[in-house]
Amino acid sequence: MELTRYILRRMVLSAFVVLGVTFLVFIVAQVVPSDPAALYAGPRPTAEQIEKARQELNLDAPLIQRFAGFAKAMGTGDFGVSYKSRRLIAEDLRAYLPATLELAVFSTGLALLIGIPLGVLAAARQGKWPDRLGSFGSIAAVAMPTFFLAMILQLVFAQWLGILPLSGRLSREISVTAPLSMMTGFNLIDALLAGRLDAFGDALKHLILPALTLASYPAGVAMRLTRSAMIEILERRHVTAARALGLSEPRILFGHALPNAMGPALTVIGLSFAYALTGAVLVEIIFAWPGLGRYVSEAILAKDFPVIAAVTMVVTICYVVMNLLIDIAQALVDPRVALS
């Protein structure tokens, strides 16, 4: 069938992207001006210690062989050990990746939930005050520096109003006194699985401010894209036809025109998700969020290459998978996509 063929084609393409990134990551590792053996050997190593490390890391093998080894390790999820901490990277990822994904998924959802309805409203009231206000808001949301927005949110909601926590992922009362057993690593899901509504509420409260911070930029973009797509679609003949058929205006806006604008809106999901994954570095630091961003920023400062490589690979795979899902969703929303 058209759809199945389309999905298969997309999957093959995605696999190539991942392979390409693997190659890139490996090459970058070769040209970075630092000696992994020296890092691995620990502080103030002797020449012998470095030589020993070089052999342990198999750094003298031919390039091709080392790439094969690297690709295989990445493929099996064996990311090796951190040069710096000597901890298993896979184990670190198991703790940090869910934290970042939870934040990324939540903020992406928030961005769409805010941006798309506002874009529809602005298009429906084109030129009137909701449109003007929305346009101003979206420009502000896009232009606002992340750290500044984060500080304002912390100031208002944590400091003044005191209704949301300043930072962290869980309160001490939960994480120390009655910790959640880690199943998926997603606190919201783990809390639900354990039937712990207190922990769920606590995790949700901690999520809101960092997610809002991360959602600001993509929400602004989603609003702009939805608005312009909707304005174009509202001019189309089938919208006039829907009006002539006596459908209500909300039904026409959300039930008939918006599905036609879902193409651009879905594109925003990819953009927003990528933004959340990479933008997480700063936001995770500001909100003391124990995720990949903080993990990799420490690794970058320490030139801890295996960690950088592992995070790059994981982020790439998340991104590629997300895009694959978006492509499939797009084909499901618009049956003509699979034909092209």
Binding site: T240, L245, G246, L247
Partner: protein
């Protein structure tokens, strides 16, 4: 009393270069149960007249009329309420009139849900019935399809079924056959005739094709430059046209009158829609124009139900 009763309707659309007089002065009396043809060259205001009756004129457009009534209700106030309840639309391009990303089932169901208070299952059977009533052979399959998977003729039948689903008893069909093959177009006309007979519908049939008037209509009104210049029973308008423009239209048709004959064979062109018109709008192109024609608006001539606007006395053709 006519179902649709329009007297001297005008629609002016403000633009940066001045008002466009899309409709200057149109009078229409459409009786219950008839198919009333409205014919004229492209740009003469056919579509805008229909859109005004639906209350769907462009933003800022000014509507004026001495009378603008549908079944006794003033369309200036009630068009939005009547549209989709009593007044339906069938547009020229069925491919564009259907939503490309929603299944036909969803689009039929939306209409039924807006107008009929019945459970989901009943709406589905109703949709199947309506599609079958438009002559679609496999309604269940059509419901599962998207617009791009249907032929033009099938799309137009779906559009007609949607209009029926609203429960409307008055349909405005804007060149419903123009985008279709000749034989498919003829089938759609036959379908409309059948629906009018079976369901007691009334149809305003917009066209630029004399054959459509001859084939499908009971009465016809000829528009020229936003003015209704002649109206009457089809055989009068076709056999004994009173207005020189209507005569020119007929003369422009080859004797064999093939389907789809266009109206462009008359020399000259319609006055620009922004211009002011003094006297008779057709005067610059009229082979029988007299000095008075350019100065004074022509009077109405009447022969029973057949009326037209011209300075020439009756029977002078």
């Amino acid at each position: 009393m006519p179902l649709l009763n329009i007297r001297n309707l005008s629609v002016a659309i403000p633009t940066p270069d001045g008002d466009v007089h899309a409709v200057r002065s149109v009078s229409l009396e459409i009786e219950r149960g008839e198919i009333h043809g409205v014919i004229g060259e492209s740009g003469c205001g056919k579509t805008m007249t229909g859109m005004a009756a639906l209350g769907l004129v462009p933003k800022g457009a000014r509507i004026a009329a001495d009378r603008f009534h549908f079944d006794g209700e003033d369309l200036r106030e009630n068009a939005a309420r009547l549209r989709g309840r009593r007044i339906g639309m069938i547009s020229q391009d069925p491919a564009a009139a259907l939503n490309p990303v929603l299944s036909i089932a969803r689009q039929m169901d939306d209409v039924l849900r807006a107008h009929r208070d019945m459970p989901r299952q009943a709406r589905h059977s109703e949709a199947v019935e309506l599609l079958a009533a438009t002559g679609l052979p496999d309604p269940e399959r059509v419901l599962k399809s998207y617009a791009h998977q249907l032929s033009g003729g099938m799309q137009q039948r779906v559009v007609i079924a949607q209009a029926l689903a609203t429960g409307a008893d008055f349909l405005i069909a804007d060149e419903p056959t123009t985008a279709l093959d000749v034989s498919v177009g003829a089938q759609v006309l036959a379908l409309l005739r059948k629906l009018v007979a079976e369901r007691g519908l009334t149809v305003l049939m917009i066209t630029h094709d004399m054959d459509v008037i001859a084939e499908a209509c009971d009465r016809a009104t000829v528009l020229y430059a936003g003015l209704s210049v002649e109206t009457g029973p089809v055989h009068d308008v076709l056999q004994r046209p009173g207005h020189p423009y209507a005569r020119a239209l007929l003369a422009a048709l080859p004797d064999a009158a093939p389907h789809g004959a266009k109206l462009e064979a008359i020399e000259g062109s319609i006055p620009p829609p922004r211009s002011q018109i003094d006297g008779c709008a057709f005067a610059p192109r009229c082979p029988q124009a007299m000095p008075v024609c350019a100065l004074q608006a022509p009077p109405e001539r009447t022969l029973a139900a057949h009326r037209w606007l011209c300075h020439l006395p009756e029977g002078s053709a």
